[in-house]
């Protein structure tokens, strides 16, 4: 019998076998190196404080598990929130830093599982959320002006739902490749995606509220709107 900590929030060590964990460790490292290069185009002296605070905010909000079903909770993953506010490269680094701090200091999320947790939440979650945010923004703007604060909230909500489901799909893929237990894959898949749809709705509400609050106070700092403003200015010139 195994002693467990019920308050762990991410994948623990041992759930997926060692070779698969190592493979995703490499994937996470390569992905984060790419994100660091991309972050150089997103960060300047003006936006560094926001990026640091976004990481700390995600750490704090991840502590607040909200109920989704009797006996089941969920917490923010943060991919959409980070990608919209500070950009996808910087946003993925924010989430990876949170996961490393949690795994190494708070015993939350396994250490050999860190590559998988980073791949799921920092790489897949951010990429899916940012792609959704870009696509939906283009649709709502119809090639003109910058998104309104309300429209940004809608974009944040939808991007958060898609990002959360995509991150959960990452877990399903890793379990399919190297799952250490006998539990059947279809049962795990249905349950994980079902619960993460509900978690995604909670994530969507938190994300919408946060990006709207920041865009209301300091629209000049919001990464997604900075890009739109640059496009609009270029089109007008």
């Amino acid at each position: 019998m195994t002693t467990v900590t019920v308050h762990a929030m991410h994948m623990s060590d041992g759930i997926v076998n060692a070779p698969t964990s190592a493979l995703f460790g490499v994937i996470a490292a390569v992905g984060l190196a790419w994100c660091a290069r991309r972050a150089r185009t997103e960060l300047d002296e003006r936006t560094v404080p926001l990026a640091g605070l976004v990481a700390a905010f995600i750490f704090a909000v991840q502590m607040v598990n909200f109920p989704i079903l009797p006996g089941v909770s969920g917490h923010l993953l943060g991919g959409a929130l980070a990608a919209i506010l500070v950009g996808p490269g910087t946003g993925a680094l924010c989430i990876a830093i949170v996961l490393v701090v949690q795994a190494l200091l708070f015993a939350d999320g396994g250490v050999s599982a860190l590559g998988m947790n980073i791949t799921n939440m920092a790489l897949i979650g951010v990429a899916a959320a940012y792609g959704t945010a870009l696509g939906l923004s283009a649709l709502l703007r119809r090639g003109r002006t910058v998104l309104s604060v309300q429209a940004l909230g809608v974009v944040g909500f939808v991007a958060a739902v898609i990002g959360t489901l995509s991150a959960a799909t990452g877990f399903v893929i890793e379990y399919a490749i190297g799952g250490a237990a006998a539990t059947s894959l279809p049962a795990v898949t249905g349950y994980v995606l079902g619960t993460h749809l509900l978690i995604g709705i909670g994530e969507g509400i938190i994300t919408a509220a946060t990006v709207m609050a920041v865009a209301g106070a300091r629209p000049d700092l919001v990464y997604l709107l900075r890009g739109q403003r640059a496009e609009t200015a270029a089109a007008a010139a």
């Binding site: 605070l53 700390a56 704090a60 237990a181 539990t183 106070a217």
Partner: protein, 119 residues
């Protein structure tokens, strides 16, 4: 909103969530953990939680830093110290992220200065 007021408000919101709102968190396992716990029951034996039945979480191994002073969002395991642990974690995250992002931003402005000088 003025520059300073925005940053101070954001920082206070983070501290309030980590140090206060975190006490309201649901203690139920999250979507992922409840998936790995399906088929098992958590029973308490001599104060430690153990699993009976058959589930994915049984293949989970003990966390390598389970004896960390901040393990499981407490300070040295003290009851009720979750808020303090959260504040420490948020400040550490801010320090690590702020430091890394400052280095990245600085490397960019340096390479830009070099390009300008070469042009």
């Amino acid at each position: 909103m003025s520059g300073r007021r925005f940053w101070v408000s954001f920082a206070l919101v983070i501290l309030a969530i980590a140090g206060g709102v975190s006490y309201l968190a649901s203690s139920s396992p999250d979507g992922l953990d409840s998936a790995t716990l399906r088929g098992c029951q958590v029973v308490e034996v001599d104060g430690a939680e153990q699993l009976t039945g058959e589930c994915i979480a049984q293949s989970a191994t003990e966390h390598p830093v389970s004896s960390s002073p901040l393990a499981d969002y407490t300070v040295l395991g003290a009851a009720g110290s979750g808020g303090l642990a959260g504040v420490i974690g948020a400040l550490l995250t801010l320090a690590v992220a702020g430091g890394l992002f400052w280095l990245i931003a600085r490397s960019r402005s340096r390479s830009r200065t070099r390009t300008d000088a070469g042009a």
